[in-house]
């Protein structure tokens, strides 16, 4: 996957941000996707994982939903020209500064209306060489941590060439085992889903 714009930032904090976009494409954005947003006036990029996509209603939708015999043209028009954007929540799992990735919370969050981009395969590969970001996911109070870990690791596996995937799965599994050695049932569930 190559880098692409997928929305603009609505609100942000050190631990995460929310961006808005119009009706989603079938492929983007999706749960567990690595995205990035500029910060510190372009000095750094905040890397995050999408953990929630919320499609809110508005007055028109409410009225239309109650309208009998609604034509397809109206429906498509409402979707294309929504009054309220679709809100995508992102958990910050690291940042890049001067070419180096850090698996830590960013010094500054991105600013409103900054463009949000997807991370290209090479970026995902580089960012996931180490696994320290998994701890940030486990510590996140709002995100569904286990689901997000599985989705993020699957994405990290897919970003690698086939011959490298098994090794990566094992390494990631070992890291999870270190982090969750005290919670064997949870670990076992995660490993089952991570297994090839």
């Amino acid at each position: 996957m190559n880098e692409m714009n997928i929305g603009r930032l609505l609100r942000s904090a050190t631990t995460g941000y929310v961006f808005g976009c119009s009706v989603p494409e079938p492929e983007v954005p999706h749960f567990g996707m690595f995205v990035k947003a500029p910060a510190q006036r372009g000095q750094s990029e905040v890397v995050g994982l999408i953990y929630n996509i919320a499609i809110e209603d508005d007055l028109f939708v409410r009225q239309m939903a109650a309208t009998p015999n609604l034509s397809e043209t109206y429906i498509q028009d409402q979707r294309a020209n929504r009054q309220v954007p679709i809100e995508v929540s992102v958990l910050c799992v690291g940042y890049r500064n001067g070419g180096q990735y850090a698996h830590a919370l960013p010094p500054q969050p991105p600013i409103t209306l900054d463009w949000i981009n997807t991370c290209a395969d090479a970026e995902v590969r580089d960012f996931t060489q180490r696994h320290d970001y998994l701890q940030l996911i486990l510590d996140a109070p709002d995100a569904p941590a286990d689901e997000l870990i599985v989705a993020a690791l699957q994405r990290a596996v897919e970003s690698r060439p086939p011959e490298d995937r098994e090794r990566y799965r094992r390494e990631a599994g070992r890291e999870l085992a270190k982090l969750l050695s005290r919670d064997l049932p949870r670990l076992q569930r995660l490993l089952k889903r991570l297994a090839p």
Binding site: Q100, A120, A122, E123, R174, A177, R182, Q188
Partner: protein
């Protein structure tokens, strides 16, 4: 930014450097109880699947611990399984789920070693010294390399004899310091069929080759002198064949020796008149003599004179014995019991016994041969199966030769003679001589206790070390122990050895053949060896040395002559 541009950053890339050969880290322990080592997890990427490190370990293996300023040599004494989570045994991964099992095996479940530190080296010391401290927490543990083992056991040389190789280290030599080996009494222990005789013969070959002592070998089962066959029918050379000039075989049973094709250099005969009560006393256990009967022996000898046994056995002229009976100095029952038991001494029961005195004084002959540096193998032939004969002859000869050694040593101390050559007396079934009930009084007990005071030490070969007196066992300098599984025997082997508790497991896990645990005076630290093959290579090593030493002697003679 494109993929290739990002790839060049190479950020977070794991090191592709090969693993060092460390196997774990020290996590606790003590000098007295041994160290706790946590084994590393598997690392498939570097060719170490989960669990391999554990399975590659073995009790008795050597490890080296790299402390902060010192290097420690230790021996593995126990191996166990452990995990980061105490609940793991209750919730193991599904055996079919290889991914989870692999992940667990390389991150949660690990192996633990119990290692016993033995030696240490620091920057100042050139050779390893006994440990008096332990390595710090988290010191790395490595499998010992051949260089490490060589550093500990030194190179094979004139007085260091290659006895075997450490476990899984074919080609690395463990050398026995023969000079130290003969300094104190030593023992070769092990159950029947574990290769005691082969190890003993290898050690004896080394002692003879190095000329660190002369040997008097009481060869109960005809194992040492001439050719011997193993259970597969393969023939091995005896010491007489290996050292044609330095070894003589004296037999008690010339007929059997002739049948076996042994070359014999003399025949031992013992005259009834030579036998003293002290020679018989040690047979008390074998004959079933009571304390009263043993006491009576001395009285009978005093009253009846040199021919006391002959008179007791004489069925025609019973006057002297009758007189004793009438005088009631010895109870009739006691006298009859002694007579009954002395039936064993009749020349037709023990063919090497003859009436009166033998034509040659073999005691002098053997003593002189030993002093010339000639090793003596005393072959028992069929009498090896008669314990009474073995005990009688071993005791008879040893008492007299020891007395001569004491005399010669005392004269040497007074500077009226040469020091006698150090002598090693090899006895089998040693517990019959060193039983706690008799070891206090017997010549063998004395020799074991007096160390090398009179240049005589023992090499005891036994399968029941628990039957040997504790005091004697604690004086044994070097113990070469093959497999033993009886608790009491294992305990006996370790009596008087500090930190022995940790080595018990090592001993109990030896292979049934060709493996031995060597500990004590002649090795710098306990070692489990796969003993050297007794084969052509050993023959060559011995022949080389004999050839060299002979050449050396000839050369020296020539030089002396020139002077």
């Amino acid at each position: 930014m494109t993929d290739s541009e990002l790839d060049k950053f190479g950020i977070f890339k794991k090191s592709d450097a090969p693993r060092d050969n460390s196997i774990g880290i020290v996590i606790g322990g003590s000098l007295s109880k041994g160290l706790d080592v946590r084994l590393d997890f598997g690392d498939v990427e570097h060719g170490v699947p989960a669990g391999k490190i554990i399975e590659d370990m073995a009790v008795g293996k050597y490890v080296v611990i790299g402390g902060k300023s010192k290097k420690f040599f230790a021996i593995v004494t126990d191996i166990s399984l452990d995990s980061n989570n105490p609940d793991l045994p209750k919730a193991p991964p599904d055996p079919d789920d290889t991914f989870t099992a692999d992940v667990y095996g390389s991150s949660i479940a690990f192996g633990r070693l119990q290692v016993s530190p033995m030696l240490l080296m620091d920057e100042e010391s050139k050779e390893p010294r006994p440990v008096k401290t332990i390595p710090a927490h988290f010191s790395k543990v490595y499998e010992a390399t051949p260089q490490d083992v060589n550093l500990v056991f030194g190179q094979e040389d004139a007085s260091h004899w290659h006895i075997g190789s450490p476990l899984d280290m074919e080609g690395v030599k463990v050398n026995l310091d023969l000079k130290r080996f003969v300094e104190r009494s030593s023992g070769v222990f092990g159950k029947s069929g574990t290769g005691k005789s082969f190890i003993t013969r290898t050690i004896l070959a080394g002692i003879i080759k190095a000329q660190s002592a002369v040997n008097l070998i009481f060869d109960m089962h005809n194992d040492y002198g001439w050719a011997v066959r193993d259970e597969h029918g393969r023939e091995y050379k005896g010491l007489r064949q290996l050292f044609t000039s330095g070894v003589q075989v004296i037999t008690l049973d010339p007929e059997t020796s002739r049948h076996r094709g042994s070359k014999v250099d003399g025949t031992l005969q013992i005259g009834l008149d030579q036998i003293e009560p002290e020679d018989v006393e040690m047979l008390a256990g074998v004959f079933g003599l009571s304390d009263v009967q043993v006491g009576a022996l001395y009285y009978l000898r005093r009253k009846l004179g040199k021919q006391w046994i002959a008179q007791l056995l004489d069925e025609h002229d019973t006057a002297a014995v009758d007189e004793l009976e009438e005088a009631e100095k010895v109870q009739k029952g006691t006298l009859r019991a002694i007579q009954r038991k002395f039936e064993m001494f009749r020349p037709d029961r023990m063919g090497f016994i003859r009436n009166g005195m033998p034509p040659d004084d073999m005691v002098d002959y053997i003593f002189n041969a030993l002093n010339r540096g000639t090793n003596i193998v005393l072959e028992f032939g069929v009498y090896g199966n008669t314990l009474a004969a073995y005990v009688l002859v071993a005791n008879f000869l040893t008492r007299r030769i020891h007395a001569k050694y004491v005399d010669k040593k005392n004269k040497a101390a007074g500077q009226v003679g040469e020091e006698p050559k150090p002598l090693v007396i090899t006895i089998e079934e040693a517990h019959k001589f060193l039983d706690p009930d008799i070891a206090q009084h017997t010549i063998f007990g004395n020799i074991a206790r007096e160390l090398r005071k009179y240049n005589v030490t023992l090499l005891i070969v036994d399968q029941r070390p628990s039957g040997i007196d504790d005091e004697v066992m604690s004086q044994i300098g070097t113990r070469v122990t093959c497999l033993l599984d009886n608790e009491a025997d294992i305990k006996a082997v370790f009596s008087g050895v500090s930190g022995a508790g940790q080595l018990r497991e090592v001993l109990a896990r030896l292979d049934t053949q060709q493996q031995a645990l060597i500990l004590g005076h002649a090795v710098p630290m306990p070692v489990v060896v796969k003993t050297r093959d007794y084969d052509e290579k050993l023959y060559e090593a011995v022949v080389d040395s004999v050839g060299t030493s002979r050449k050396h002697a000839e050369r020296k003679k020539a030089i002396d002559g020139e002077e």
